[in-house]
Structure formats: C-alpha cells, structure tokens
Symmetry: C2
Subunit: 366 residues, 2 copies
C-alpha cells in the first residue's frame, strides 16, 4: 500500500550520491551496528557485537508465552504454533556466519543511499531451533507450491510502500534440514534485536533471508511479490535493469587491523618485527574456503587456515609478517572451493549489494 | 608522546564542519553503537543495545584469570589485585543510566569531527562490583593526594598524542560508596566491549569517567594530565577557551518514536486516536527528575512519571495523546529537582559535548 503524495515518506527512489554522507545515512549507521574489526579475533562473535541491520523498529515483545507463528496459504492444515510447540520439534544447532548483503556499500562510488556499511556487517553465532521442514510437513504443502513466504512482525515504509518485512524461499531450500526456526543464539533466548522470540535462519545466504520476529508463513502457488523480495536485494548494473536476485554470500575475507589506532582516522601504527596477522574468511551456499592469501605492498603469500568450523561458519586464518619501518598496505583475499576469488576492486552495484572486494588495511610501522 | 610529523595520525586539530558527514564520522558511527530509540521501552537496556563508544580497539582478553589491577603512586602499600580478590570485597549492585558526553553532537552546527551521535548514546544497566574505596583504603592514600587516575588497557592516538585511555577523579568522589570497580553487568560477566573483565562505574557522570578494561590506578599529588582529561571532554564556547571540564550528565529526556517508520528517513506514521507516548528522563549527580512535559505542536502538558528506580537510573514517563490526522511535532522536556530544565535549542559547544536540548519527533497521523 503506497501512501500517495506524502512527501515525508519518500515515495520516489533516492538518487545515488558521491562523496560526503547524508544525515539519513549517519542516522542509520548510529542505529544499526557493525562488528568492530578487532572482534574478528573471537571464533563466536561476542553477544552485542554481531552486526545488526533492522529495517523498521525492533518490535517490543514482553514475553514469548503468547507468541505464535501461523502457517497458511496452500496447505492442507493451516496451523498456529506456539514457541513451546516449536521447542518440542527435533532441534539442531548450527554455527553460521551471516553477512549483510549491503556490506561494503559505503565503498562504492556513486553509492545507493542506505545503511552506509564499510566492512563490519558480519558476525558468527550458534543458532538453535527446529528445521522448518517439520512445520511444513505438518501443515502439508500443496503440490503446486512455488514459494514459501516468511513475514516478520516489523512493519514500515520503503520508497512509499507500506509492508511487513517479508522474504520467500523455494520449496527445495525450505525443506532442507539446515533452514531453521530459531529461538536461541549462543545457547540463550534470542535478544530482542536478533528476532526474539522466533526467527528464520537461512545458512549460506546473505542476512536479508533470515527473517526476524517471524509471525507468518504463507505457502504460495506463485512467486512472492513483497517489497523486500522484488523491490530491493536485486543485483543491478543500472537502476532499471531487471537484475538478478541476491542470494548466497560471495566469498570474502577480513583482517583484524594490527597495531593501535588513531581515534578519528582509525589509521594503524605498529612496532617493527614479526607480527601475527589474523582474520576470517567465508563463502556462501555451504561452499568451503579453499585458501587465503595475504598481500603486503602487492606481494602475495599464502596464509595458514585454522581448523574448519563447519560448512556455514567463517574460517580463521593467520600469517606472520616481519614488519619493516615505513608505510605499508596489507590486503587479504580468499578463494573458495568453487574457485571463486575476491576481486581486487569493488564490483559496482546499483543497490550497493555484494561488495566482496579484498580488504585493504594501511599501516605505519615504526 | 606525540608521533611528530606523521601525517596519517592527525597531529593537527580537526576543523569544525557543516552539512554532510565525513567518511571518518561514518566509520565511527558504524563501529560504535547507539540505542535504537524504540528500545527505550525497556527499563533495563537489553544486552547489546546499550550505547557503546570505544575510543581505540576493544582489547582481546581471553580469560579474566590473569587480569590484575595495580594500585600505585602516592600510597603506603602498592597493590596488584586479581579479579578474585575484588570479588571478595563487599559488593554492591547499582542501576545506572550512562550517557555519552558527545550525545547530540551531530545536531550542532558547525560540529566537531568525532562520533556523530544524534540521540541514542545512552543506556541503563545494573552494574555489580566493589566500591573503589575498599581498594584505596587498603593501599593507603597519602595525605597530599590531589587526584586518582584510572588507566585502561586500550591504547591509541588522538590529535597525534599516543596514550592509554585514562581519566581521573577527586579523592572525595573516589571514596564515595557509589563509585564501583565493576565485573558484572545485568548479573553476568562484563562483555568484551563493556570493559571485560573490570571497569570503573562513576554513576551520575557522563560515560567518559567510567574507564573500561581498568588495569592501573595511580594516586597523584597533582592533577592528572592525560589527554582524555585535559585535551578533550572540556566544555568550550570557542576552540581556545580554557573551558570547563565535562562532569555530571545534564538533565535530559527522550521519547519512543510512536507509530511505524520509513526505512531511510525514519519519519513516523501513526493512526489517529489515542496513543500512549512513552519515554525516559534522567539527570546527573544523583539529582532526581522532577517532571517531564510533552509538547504537541507547541502546547505543553505534564506527563505521568513511572515509579522512581533509584538515584542514578532513568525514569519512565508516559502521556496519552489523542492523535488527529495531519502533521505534528512531538517534544519532550524534563526538569530535575535542582530546577534545571532542558533547553529548547541545542547549547553549542566546540567539542560537541553536553547537548541536552529537548527531543523533537515529527509524525504524520492518518
């Protein structure tokens, strides 16, 4: 439902911008949270440091007791299921790295006006819940099912369109054992900002698929046409391209910036001598990371990978560099088992999605 | 220690700016975290939503077991104390609202180039630890003590000056029962980003006084001259004024923005009819909030206060507004028991400190 003619609700698309940042971009950066890159040291992202992108408001849910999720549409038995019932289904815990599809948007030029992420929109947690398929089997999907839509309790506007946040999945993926109805994160009930009391987790995909505050599941005999599915999260070379939907995470790596920072510029200073560089690498769709290279002033060497932590979790890497006095550029670049490699320059995208360019860190050594 | 001549570490003061925001400001807004204002609904700020300002990097501390805090300088018995010893001292739990001194900086014009907070740099938690005075009594402060300095494990540069984050207190305040050596937040060990494993909490003061990752306490026979004490956190009408140190929080209130938002502009839309407006109000130095007024299109009425939650915690307020279709401006304004009242316009400050202007929320009612 569009709110026609209301100038405050931005019925028009926002133009691309260059250079300095708009007040609205800063307000979003204040509300949403990036991972401070030094927290890449932790295998599991500490509570409160996992990246957070909330499109509308965090719903206020005083207690999980009254929460239900409804399953409707093309099913033989419509359901309304409590949290207690979901907790009685078979449970799984998966370690999953989730990245925001817009991570790196602020490095594009020109850029889409949206949350101006630089590098930090990523995190890793252990998510516990029931495979979605148990609920779908109980409801009985019709043979003509094309998609399953997932709607959250969060509601608002984007480009003039009022909607509940919603996304959809194809039936094959929805019936995978790895797509979970999650009620716990790192062994504790979900925090309000991570979807309390119930959310979807779609491992291997960018974060937009993992609908928070899940309240409705709709089985459809047609593609879902909600705004978050067809109006955004589309790779487009130009604004009016048909484009390609954003799905799996692209291969990527990040580095813990070594040394100590300047408060304002975040420029790094470190002492000369051997320094262990560390970081994380991941890819999407369950494809493992094959290797990570570290480039020092343009010369590449292979990093050592930490033990594998599962199909969906980032992998640690380390590399000892003998730092010499002066100015240097450190770069990390991951390649996955499908042979996909991070590009040296950011792939431009109209909506600012999927920027998996290599991570560059400038340092001064004394 | 200045790093002379290194252009990357900003040895010069940064000029004030107007209008759009610098890339460095956005990078800080991504790293640091503001409270999303809808989370003002919670008496205690949910874990991970408390505001967070980290000057340098969050130190990586794998375990609290080896952590000690040293007490030195003008004492009869220098100490090196473990966490276990601090936990054996008498313990207190205080509910404390902490606001960043720079909250509201982004609303000043021109503004200091720093973390560009709008409204969200505030939060409330229950902090548990030992009153600092027990440690100071054990060490035995000299009669000529002027100040006590507190140094964290976080180190970096600001305006070319390399330093450990450090702040100081006068002996009278340091010996108060309310200044705590804190190891737990909301009943759990501190999170890395909130100072794990040990921090200071100075209730009633802006957040810069509550030193995180506390590792050294120095009793001094002179005023502490660390950068965070004398180089910043000073109210100045002009850049070169001697100025007045930032100490207690100024009286302030915020409102949960009613209705639903637009993703990008955060403009609010709500339905006509009665709506309960809610928010929080606080003041500094243990002074209670006396009243909160709500202004609708310039007409002020008194809000109802929730029960008092202690000398140092924000106080809830609520006000039922009969919303009529159209455009409106909602404002909240608190007055404290000392008669201090929030100004209608932001008090300009060179460093962007202490902006306690009233909170204004523009809404569209349909």
């Amino acid at each position: 439902m569009a709110l026609g003619g209301n100038p405050f609700l931005h019925p028009e698309k926002r133009p691309h911008v260059e250079g300095d940042f708009k007040r609205e971009e800063v307000a979003l950066a204040n509300r949403n949270s990036g991972l401070p890159l030094e927290a890449l040291r932790h295998d599991l992202t500490p509570v409160g440091l996992h990246y957070l992108l909330v499109h509308f408001d965090i719903p206020y849910v005083a207690s999980a007791d009254a929460w239900t999720v409804r399953v409707g549409g093309r099913v033989s038995t419509p359901l309304e299921v409590s949290l207690a019932e979901i907790a009685r289904l078979p449970q799984r815990t998966l370690r999953v790295t989730i990245e925001c599809a817009g991570n790196g948007r602020a490095r594009l030029n020109p850029r889409s006006q949206s949350q101006p992420w630089e590098d930090g929109a990523v995190g890793t947690a252990e998510w516990t819940g029931a495979p979605l398929r148990h609920l779908l089997e109980r409801a009985g999907m019709a043979a003509d099912t094309i998609e399953i839509a997932f709607l959250g309790a969060d509601r608002g506007f984007d480009v003039g369109i009022e909607h509940d946040y919603g996304r959809s999945l194809a039936p094959d993926l929805a019936m995978s054992d790895d797509v979970l109805l999650v009620h716990a994160m790192n062994g504790r009930p979900l925090l309000p900002q991570h979807g309390f009391p119930l959310r979807l987790i779609v491992p291997g995909w960018y974060g937009m698929a993992s609908v928070k505050w899940l309240s409705r599941i709709e089985v459809l005999d047609r593609p879902f046409d909600g705004f978050q599915q067809v109006g955004t999260y589309i790779y487009r070379r130009q604004r009016d391209d048909a484009g390609v939907p954003v799905t799996h995470m692209r291969v990527k790596s990040l580095m813990v910036p070594p040394g100590i920072p300047d408060w304002y510029t975040r420029r790094r200073l470190l002492e000369h001598g051997p320094v262990e560089l560390r970081g994380r690498a991941w890819s999407g769709g369950g494809v493992p990371v094959a290797n990570v290279e570290v480039g020092v002033d343009g010369e590449w060497q292979e990093a050592t990978l930490d033990p594998d932590a599962g199909n969906y979790a980032w992998r640690g890497w380390r590399f000892t560099w003998d730092a010499t006095p002066g100015e240097h550029e450190l770069v990390c670049r991951a390649t996955d088992a499908a042979g996909q490699v991070q590009p040296l320059e950011a792939p431009w995208d109209s909506g600012g999605f999927g920027n998996n360019a290599v991570h560059r860190v400038a340092v001064t050594v004394r």
